[in-house]
Amino acid sequence: MNVFSKVLVANRGEIAVRLVRALRELGISSIAAYSDADRGSLAVRLADEAAYVGPSPSSESYLRIDRIVDVAKRHGAQAIHPGYGFLSENAEFAEACAAAGIVFIGPPAEAIRKLGSKTAARQLAIAAGAPVVPGTERALSDWQEARAAADDLGYPVLLKAAAGGGGKGMRRVDRESDLKSALRDAASEAGRAFGNSEVYVEKLVEEPRHIEIQILGDHHGHLIHLGERECSIQRRHQKVIEECPSPLMGSHPELRERMGQAAVRVASAAGYANAGTVEFLVDRDANFYFLEVNTRLQVEHPVTELVTGLDLVEWQLKIAARERLTLRQSDITWRGSAIECRIYAEDPDHDFLPAPGRIVHLSEPSGPGVRLDSGIFEGWDVPLEYDPLLAKLAAWGPTREAAIRRLDRALSEYVLTGVRHNIAFFQEVLADAEFREGRLSTSFLDRFFERRKKTEADPEAEAAAALAIALSSSASSSPPAREMSRWLDSGREELLR
């Protein structure tokens, strides 16, 4: 297959590596776009060609439509893959590609536009017959209207800013007596944040699961779904662990097909083509509600690939080249279970603060059932300009339990020093009883932190470390005085007697 002969990868990090690999496997020349900070990146090393697109800040490089299109033309690329983030959901970029005679590997610009606005997407979902969280369609005019709506929905409800985002102007209301003041607070916060104090009310979904459906469609009107991913393990609305199938499917085997059909209806209504993801909230009774559509390849796509055996990037390329999606819905099968964790340069012991820096030592896990999508190598300086994602580690097993055990094994092999990271944190989560039982929700991590026990220091491990360091550093540096404890001081006095 040679759908294209040369493609520009307009992204960085692990996803750029993923794309370069896919292109090589298809015999397509790859060009890695790079900023100053990424001149020596793994994607640049692995690509056939590399093209400079600007200084390190992404606003001057990876987000510059003009520069990206320009290097694509100069290098003779026939198509551009935007990865995720950056320009991947930018309809203007898709149009600029088209204007330059270059194929944008993603959905039509119009579909991106239709689904880009949350409220427009919600209307589209309702029209397509997909369930949405029940609520008022328009802003509330006064508190009587709010009371009537809340009564209809049943408490608890959620007040949300019409122009909102990021939790601003959002209030949970558990009983009618709290409604009045909550409405006042929400409206005033919304007014301050967005210059628009309009508020509407939705039914509150308590401890929801985040479950999303992968869709795939061609430009000839054929669209299918590839099943779900459960992404409920999040911190600061950032997914950190994803899996396929969702553990919920065990007790609700019909849910995949129902959610899948809803996702296909929404995407079809938007004239969607290429790969995309329809996100849903799922409540305790396994009712699902449309949330939004991500009009691009998703970070967590590997778990779907591991379980379905399909290569999503390969299909993205074929579809972008106007090939027909030859898979029917009945061709899609799910084998076993896959689970992925996102390795970030961040400090789990200090509120997950980011931790850029140089990779001092790296030894990556491999072996049976392990898939690693990594963007780093030993000696690489993890730049401070970008997202802290270093790699995605995924494991496949015949059962969820087997996949978890395998992922845990792979984590135990991972040696990564020089920057702080969340590898050991994931091992704690995987060992958690609620996690093992599949009792997941988007508030899982909050509760996990409440019950998390500080792991006891293992004196034998300390002894092993002290031994290695003592014998490897005969030329040990003088101790920084202020870090010495009284105990050490007294020890010193003894020595000096």
Binding site: H361, D387, T417, E460, A466, A468, I469, L471
Partner: protein, 157 residues
Amino acid sequence: MKRHVVVNGRSGTIEIEGSRLRYEREDGVVIEREFSLQGTSVLLNGRSYRVNRGAGKEVWVNGRLLSMEVFDPRDLRTGKGASANHGRQEIAASMPGKVIRVLVTAGDTVEEGQGLVVVEAMKMQNEMKSPKTGRVAEVRARLDATVGAGEILVIVE
């Protein structure tokens, strides 16, 4: 061979003689083992540990992070005493990043909790706050400079 060690802030000693080690922690825990060391691989009575250095004082043992310092007790003679800077507080960067705002200048009076410097890394901003009410003695942070975690940005007294 005898060394003082500080592990995760807790002091101890390690004595190495032939292929035996003795590790004693200030809380009284004692480990005595036969050891073998090759590269990053340590065996203690046959149990296997992988020890890898990270940046600074960081050491990773079988994937777990320790803060570890090892001193030759003979070097301690030249060490400065643990002179506490009474009342003087050093405010350090809590993560590596770029200084994107410096909110005070030397001589300013500041209140406890007042923002001093904002550091940004990986799209996240982190505001360093004054731990006390006092006067800014020194501002070391410079705008647009890249700083490491633990690097001193401001001194308040």
